[in-house]
């Protein structure tokens, strides 16, 4: 593998004896931030040369590079099933000896641990930032009408009735883009289903029909509070509509705020935790690892990789990232959060957070499309039965692996 392949990274040290470190990270929306980090790092380090790529469609790029065995040194990915697969494929290296892990919020390390298909020794990701999903609301509109933030399911429904009575649309949905169907689902699931539902199912201890019935039923109750035909509008339509004050609330993650603000920079957005439960004390924030860094097993110079991680994890860089992307830091310490996270501050501070259920769903099962079908057809039993059936079908190899593990341990 020589000259013509652009081996920017491992093992090559063309840059006058410097160690080359290449990062590929999957959030193109943060490309500008990473460009600056790259420049600052290179300006202050003589021994290491850093390259950060923020391509669109990084999953495809990473997979094609893996198959060519042209590994970057560090990858920046989300804490979802792809991470689980990468750990299982043994292409990541154990970073438990990395000193910076001490400063990471234990909650996020636990989330990462839970993502392993079967328990594996060691730590394979350094959680960087998290996102939080609940309900975004138009703060000014709420203040004008004197609406209270709901803290239980009952509160939420009566608030919706109140808003509707004033001739305002309570929610906007962009269900034409199937993935948005997962946002309210995840936010409600953290309160209505055990966080390890999927693992329990894999071990054969329960079924989704049992665990998801209340959740699915409640989800359907939100529909009348949205637009007449929510399946006609996409994510972008919903962002625009919410930005233009066409609805009071929008159940989506904090990641939507830049798109909303691009349409209406004046909008005052805040958020609250989706109250799906009947007791306000049972509420928990839906939050997971949005971006974490994994060092590849193939990386020849782990020390250099750690030095890069140190730089990325410096407080001022994290602060810049969260200012830029309205994210939640995974590192403990005093960070200033974006104003649209005001309503979630307390949960973040106390660590009352639970990971997204969909981080455990294999993407090829298309749970988002199943949800969309359910919301259109409104057939609860059929949805739950299909969910269970498809789960077994799409996770056959994983279930076998989990059960083998259980037998041997």
């Amino acid at each position: 593998m020589a000259v013509m392949i652009p081996l920017a990274g491992c093992a090559s040290s063309e840059n006058s004896g410097k160690t080359e470190i290449e990062i590929v990270q999957y959030k193109p929306e943060a490309a500008n931030y990473f460009k600056t980090v790259e420049e600052q790092f290179n300006a202050t380090h003589d021994d290491i040369h850093l390259t950060i790529n923020s391509p669109n469609d990084a999953t495809t790029i990473l997979k094609t590079r893996f198959i060519r065995e042209d590994y970057p040194d560090i990858i920046g990915i989300g804490g979802d099933i792809n991470y689980s697969y990468f750990v299982d494929a043994e292409i990541l290296t154990d970073v438990s000896d990395y000193a910076g892990l001490q400063d990471i919020n234990q909650g996020y390390l636990d989330i990462a641990e839970a993502l392993e298909l079967v328990p594996v020794d060691g730590t394979y990701i350094v959680p960087y930032v998290a996102n939080a999903a609940g309900v975004l609301y138009n703060r000014q509109m709420f203040a004008e009408h004197g609406w209270e933030i709901p803290e239980t399911w009952e509160d939420l429904l009566s608030l919706c009735d109140e808003i509707q009575a004033e001739g305002i649309l309570p929610f906007y949905f962009g269900f034409k883009d199937t993935w948005t169907c997962l946002a309210p689902w995840n936010a409600m699931a953290v309160e209505l289903a055990p966080p390890d539902t999927t693992k329990q199912v894999n071990r054969g201890e329960t079924t989704f029909t049992e665990q998801y019935r209340e959740l699915a039923d409640k989800y359907l109750q939100l529909l009348p509070y949205g637009p007449a035909d929510p399946f006609a509008y996409g994510y972008n339509d919903a962002c625009t509509a919410f930005a233009r004050g066409e609805s009071a609330m929008y159940p989506i993650g904090s990641y939507a705020t830049p798109q909303i603000l691009s349409v209406n920079p004046e909008l005052d957005i805040d958020s609250f935790v989706m109250p799906a439960c009947d007791d306000r004390e049972d509420r928990t924030l839906n939050s997971g690892i949005d971006l974490g860094f994994c060092v590849m097993a193939d990386c020849p110079d782990k020390e250099a990789a750690y030095e890069v991680l140190d730089f990325l994890l410096a407080d001022e860089n994290i602060q810049r990232y969260i200012d830029d992307q309205n994210a939640v830091p995974c590192k403990s310490g005093e960070f200033k959060l974006a104003s649209m996270l005001d309503g979630m501050q307390e949960f973040i501070r106390t660590g009352n957070m639970t990971d997204y259920q969909d981080h455990y769903y294999p993407s090829e099962m298309s749970v988002d499309a199943l949800l969309q079908t359910y919301l259109i057809e409104k057939d609860l039993d059929d949805f739950l039965a299909t969910f269970d059936k498809n789960w077994q079908r799409y996770n056959r190899d994983i279930i076998r692996m989990v059960q083998e593990y259980a037998q041997n341990h």
Binding site: M1, A2, V3, M4, I5, P6, A8, V24, K27, P28, E29, A31, N53, P55, N56, D57, T60, I61, K63, T64, R65, I67, R68, E69, D70, P72, W179, N236, D237, T240, A241, R244, E246, Y255, A256, P258, Q259, S262, V263, N264, P265
Partner: protein, 281 residues
Amino acid sequence: MKHTSSIGKSNRAVMVLLILGLSTIVFPLYMTIVIAFKQPSEMTNSISGILSLPRTWSLDNFREAMRVTDFWHSLRNSLLISVSTIVLSVLLHSLMGYALGRNKAKSKFYSFVYLFIVSGMFVPFAILMMPLAKQTAELHLANWAGVIILYVVFYMPMNIMLYSGYLVNIPMALEEAARVDGASTWKTYWSIIFPIMGPMHATVAVITALAVWNDVMTPLIIMAGSGENTLPLAQLNFQSQFGTNYNLAFASYLLSLIPILIFYMICQKQILNGVTNGAVK
């Protein structure tokens, strides 16, 4: 001359229909242009809002789009890949179309090769992606040269079909006359057949250019990590899952539409020239 009046009438009817049909193109184009000039804060979901003219006709979006896509650099890569693919396609595919087209009716071997290559058109790209990513890397072709080779192979089936279809209407007598004069087949091809296929070259060039110009997938998997972009690859920068800047994207797409449109206008004259030259008789 005596048919003038009836021709005139039917032509007027054709004109009316063509103009009506044009509305299906003018309307989307109008939307593209106004959106390309607007700011994100001018985007709405109301029809009057989206169809209204932009507040100012500023070229800022175009400037910014050029900056984001590193326009001249990406354009150069796109041109390099497209032009090379087109030239190689016209040369190689016409030759192959000739060899197969002239022989497939009487030779089992050539008819098999013809069907073999044409059926290559139906291979779903997704199944080739992984193996190709691996194979191009093994052959040190994970770069623009690899992309060009792959295009020449991908569009071979379609172009060979086109060329051998065109040959059906080119009489053998033309070649036989040259052969009587003692010219070799190779020479006859370049001096007689190749020029006659002019309109087909133009057609193949346009169709190949179309397919190549907007293609994302091939450069994405082959050139991934090389740090080089084609225009469509650079244009991916405008969209991510959680946010798309339609205004910049539309401006950028309008810009990248110009070269291919010019190319088409040149080629479509060529497609016509075939007749006026009286090449095919």
